[in-house]
Amino acid sequence: MQAPDQVARVPAWIDGEGGARILTDAPARGACSLAYGRGRSYGDSCLNSDGELIDTRALDRFVSFDRDSGWLTAEPGVTLAAILRLIVPAGWFLPVSPGTSHATLGGAIANDVHGKNHHADGSFGRFVERFVLLRSSGQRLVCSADENTELFRATIGGLGLTGLVTQATVRLLPIRSDRMDVRIDRFQGLDAFMALAAERRDTHRYTVAWLDCAASGKAFARGVFLAANHARGDGPLEPAPPGSRLAIPFALPSRLLNRHTIRAFNSVYFARHRPLEGREIEQHYQGFFYPLDAIDRWNRIYGTRGFHQYQFVVPPGQEAALGSILQRIVRSGMGSFLAVLKEFGDLPSPGLLSFPRPGLCLALDFADRGALTETLIRALDDEVRRAGGAAYPAKDRLMTAEAFRAYFPAVDRFARHVDPRFSSDFWRRVHG
């Protein structure tokens, strides 16, 4: 996405003393800095209206790729799609895939992104071997689990606030085919979801469920459960071609999405999976991991008003709280399509401010209806807090300072490592 109407600098190089000037000179311009990748965070954690954005799109070079060992080093502006185009033909895959391949490597680190394999592999930060961090002092620090450890841990999931990552090394996952073996099940109710999640946990690297948040009564908490593995046999190793097949040409009328159309969409989606129930299908990785990438600017279906995304996790044992939150969403009639339910595992991330943690995680969109939507999200926030859970900063625009502190108890330890000349709209809101 285009950088929003904010002061954006687009350095071609950040090498040497000259390259560092983009940060070291910022105070002279009276500005604070924040790295900006492709703007795929839904909230304001990637915005900096009081300062400057460092647009990393030209910092998109690979530094090295070891085809034998599966180590990749690249600059922060490389997109995950570009990485996949390079590594898939060589038999490697991203160790963790978020919901879009348009995100950048820098963004994947800054948000410590997670994917459908969280229960098996944990978050992206677990596969970051090392990176070089440029600070506004002009210092370049190599950070890893053994070197500048605290800064390493602060930067993973650190929302871009600790400085500018100039290059990072990640460990890739070997694959033998670009295909996924996907097992499809439908379920009715959270208990059935839990049972499926427990059953598939050890047999499938990737699990995720689509949840109907419009259905009430007997259909409450129904959904489609997907469990997948990379195909085990040798197969084709073709990356997805660049570009999208479809595009939403303009913002659609906001009234198009209402409780009736969403209910209808969800019913069709649920019904469409009936013939696939209990079956295993083969699918290219692109369709499995990044279905929405096929539709360019899909956000326009929400009209010019846009939407909020809300994602949260509640700890194990708090399934009842999740049920009550879900009831509230259904009652509000504002539930969207494409609500995604996922069981997180207990593999710890090195990130101090990392969002993923053991429990059940639900993500959904709400068309922006102003105060109505804000009230709902604040009520959800209260319930999430009471349940001892957390909401995801990458998808948030409403989190209060109080809530932030409750969700991320390591915040004080983290704040010590924030670069004094870095900030964001999100950070000013939650930390002042």
């Binding site: 285009q2 954006a8 687009v10 190089w13 090498d15 070079r61 690979f62 530094v63 790729f65 390079l86």
Partner: protein, 244 residues
Amino acid sequence: MAERTSVILGATSALGQAVARELAARGEALVLIARDAERLSVVAADLGARGATVSSRTCDFDQLIEHAGLIDSIGEADDYWLFYGTLPDQAACERDWEATAAALHTNFTSAASLLTRIANRLEPRGWGSIVVVSSVAGDRGRGSNYVYGAAKGALSLFCQGLRMRLSKHGVQVVTIKPGFIDTPMTAAIEKKPAPLWATPERVAQDMVRARDKGADVRYTPWFWQPIMLIIKSVPERIFKRLSL
């Protein structure tokens, strides 16, 4: 089968990198040339990681005296791509002849010097292509950008003549006229109207296609051809009053 080899003059520019990636994806070998050794090694590493066969040389293109040695040092190559250039600050050029002279030197004189040497090498050999990045700014002088426009206009004319000379010897000369490209070089310019701004990747694809098709002059993206046709046809007495 022997690899096709391209020489990239100005390999650290955004467009040079985009074309080099496009060529690397097609399995072509690359000779990268740029002034800054450290940046050149970063670009070479990127293309190497993408699987390309890469060699590199440094050259300060402004030093015309380096040109002969540079071209001699490059082994047999099929295609030569000329990217380097500067986008001068028009206001500074108006105040200061030195700034104007520097812009003309880099964008035209240096390019003409290199093209002469490349042409003299390819003419007797009788095959290959030379792809030169000029600009739509060279199609007509405008008050807001005439120093850059004059250098690129002269470059377009130079290439036009060179094409006539070399086409008789089986060597093609392709003049590329990009419109606005969204690169770090143009970062300070407001990107409006948005549909007129193209990505370096898009322009790079057009450039490689133009070489493959043996095009003479290629506007990129294509819509700049009709736009410039209109701009060139406005009578001067009206044109001079516009703020362009």
